[in-house]
């Protein structure tokens, strides 16, 4: 039996609000499948589970805020699930085994398994009655004490509650993504009338859009206004979260800063040539080259790729490149491009586009924001030439790129005008010294001189 717990979706997250379940008891789930929507101070995220099996019981109701590590649901591996299906109905006095801490999560995946191990789940007061069943009874206007229990020992089962409520206590839940639900509500589309094209027939936003009279709409601010929290609330909460994290960073991390100018003539020539030959959808931005170089350099200088935890350095289990994305209306998030050093430029560019779009439309997943091992901020588009960033704890380095500008530059003893970018490194002096940081920036420079090998 595995417990699906409230994941840690960033160093600054202590608790999260379960906003919506995407699965029901009895449903089969696969590792990596989104099972719940969780709201943190910074964003609303779809959270994936780490086990393949059958959802046995949902322990926490939507709208509940719980600490990181709290068991949210019980998931039975398939073998056990088959056996469980032979049993009668779900009984309310069943005491589930104590949920295991998340150490059981496989470490090879790209999901939040890398997140700092959450504290073991605290004991839950659900031994008496499943809170969901009580909730279900309440919602159906039933008196819990008066319910007739048909389970072993007279226990009340879900079936009892549903029968007492006229068999329709809870209409079968249609599988759909949160965005699809919002769109359906907005566009007055009946989810039940759609054929889903997503995983296991889940209705996706595209299905709703194509069914909507008048065709597609993209998410508008109206969608956000319709949610329980207003945009102002969100902006405020995000400001608070950023303030807390950055205060901690500047208080705890003795930063040192390095900077170097990188000649981008070779990289830009290569890029223009590539783009000239490529259809629009496959064109690259200079950011793709810069990010790839930053990722490969992090692999070469692993001392900068990882976390400072409990007074020591813990190397990352791959280069998961955090990319600072500014949001319209203020604030930023830094989701990760997983294993960025192993992606070719085309894959990296596609991953970057996808990540930025999802960050800006509030559709990031838990695995996107969990534990980047080093972060890059690229303020070139904002017109500045140099950025010295603040490190995201518990990471130990932050790489900055400014705008690529034409500058007079001495090349082979001659003065010429070349495109140049200023690359900076902010690093944690507890973890490394300047010599290591210098090695990193030198590697970035060298890698960008051979763009065809990136």
């Amino acid at each position: 039996m595995g417990a699906f717990t409230m994941p840690s979706l960033g160093a600054d997250m202590d608790e999260g609000t379960l906003q919506e379940w995407l699965v029901r008891p009895g449903e089969q789930v696969r590792k990596g499948e989104a099972v719940a929507v969780v709201e943190t101070a910074k964003s609303t995220l779809e959270v994936e589970c780490f086990e393949t099996g059958t959802v046995e019981e949902l322990l926490v109701e939507p709208g509940t805020t719980v600490p990181v590590g709290t068991a949210l649901a019980l998931i039975a591996p398939f073998a056990r699930a088959r056996e469980a299906r032979g049993e009668p109905d779900e009984t309310v006095e069943k005491t589930p085994p104590r949920p295991k801490p998340r150490r059981t999560a496989p470490s090879s995946g790209t999901e939040a398994a890398r997140a700092p191990t959450p504290t073991p789940a605290r004991a839950h007061g659900h031994s008496e009655a499943g809170p969901l069943l009580r909730h279900l009874a309440e919602r159906s206007g039933l008196d819990w004490a008066a319910l007739h229990g048909s389970g072993p020992g007279g226990r009340v089962t879900r079936g009892d509650v549903e029968r007492a409520a006229g068999g329709a206590a809870r209409p079968p839940r249609i599988r759909a993504t949160p965005l699809a639900r919002r769109l359906a509500a907005e566009l007055h589309v009946d989810l039940g009338s759609l054929t889903g094209t997503g995983t296991d027939g889940a209705v996706r936003a595209a299905d709703v859009r194509s069914a909507a009279p008048g065709g597609a709409t993209t998410p508008t601010p109206a969608h956000r206004a319709a949610r329980p929290r207003t945009a102002e609330d969100r902006a405020f909460a995000m400001r608070q979260a950023i303030a807390a994290l950055m205060t901690r960073a500047n208080r705890d991390i003795p930063h040192y800063y390095l900077s170097t100018n990188v000649d981008m003539a070779a990289a830009m020539d290569w890029l223009h040539e590539h783009n000239r030959r490529s259809p629009v959808g496959e064109r690259l931005l200079p950011a793709a080259l810069l990010l790839k170089a930053a990722a490969c350099a992090a692999r070469e200088v692993p001392e900068l790729n990882g976390f400072w935890v409990d007074g020591g350095f813990v190397p990352g289990d791959g280069v998961h490149l955090g990319v600072a994305v500014s949001l319209r209306g203020g604030g930023l998030v830094a989701p990760a491009l997983h294993d960025a050093d192993t992606l070719d430029l085309r894959q990296l560019m596609a991953g970057l586009k996808d990540l930025v779009v999802r960050a800006r439309t509030g559709r990031l997943r838990g695995s996107d924001v969990s534990a980047p091992t080093i972060t890059v901020t690229n303020l070139g588009d904002q017109g500045v030439e140099t950025v010295y960033g603040v490190i995201y704890p518990p990471q130990v380095a932050l790489v900055g790129f400014g705008r690529i500008v034409d500058r007079p530059s001495a090349v082979d003893g001659l003065l010429g005008v070349r495109p140049v970018v200023t690359a900076t490194l902010s690093a944690d002096h507890r973890a490394t010294d300047g010599a290591v940081g210098a090695r990193y920036l030198t590697a970035v420079d060298r890698l960008l001189q051979n763009p065809e090998q990136l």
Partner: protein, 81 residues
């Protein structure tokens, strides 16, 4: 494609990339990239949308010129023939 259609395509493509953009506040010769704070990814997304919808092949060299509603619409009309 006439010019009115081209202009609609341009606006539509911008809206795809910047949901909720106030296009009515935008003058025909304003730089929408600056006015709407589009970064290079947004701009590339705009070019992709525009190219998809108009069927016009937009070369990388052309993109730097596509900065105003009016200029971009003219470009589309000229290229679509």
């Amino acid at each position: 494609m006439n010019r009115t259609e081209a202009l609609e395509l341009v606006k539509d493509s911008i809206s795809r990339v910047v949901p909720g953009a106030d296009l009515d506040a935008l003058g025909p010769d304003d730089s929408f990239r600056d006015a709407l704070e589009m970064d290079s990814l947004d701009f590339l997304g705009f070019i992709e949308a525009l190219s998809d919808r108009s069927g016009v092949r937009i070369e990388d060299e052309d993109t730097q010129r596509l900065t105003t509603l009016s200029g971009t619409a003219d470009f589309l009309v000229a290229r679509a023939g």
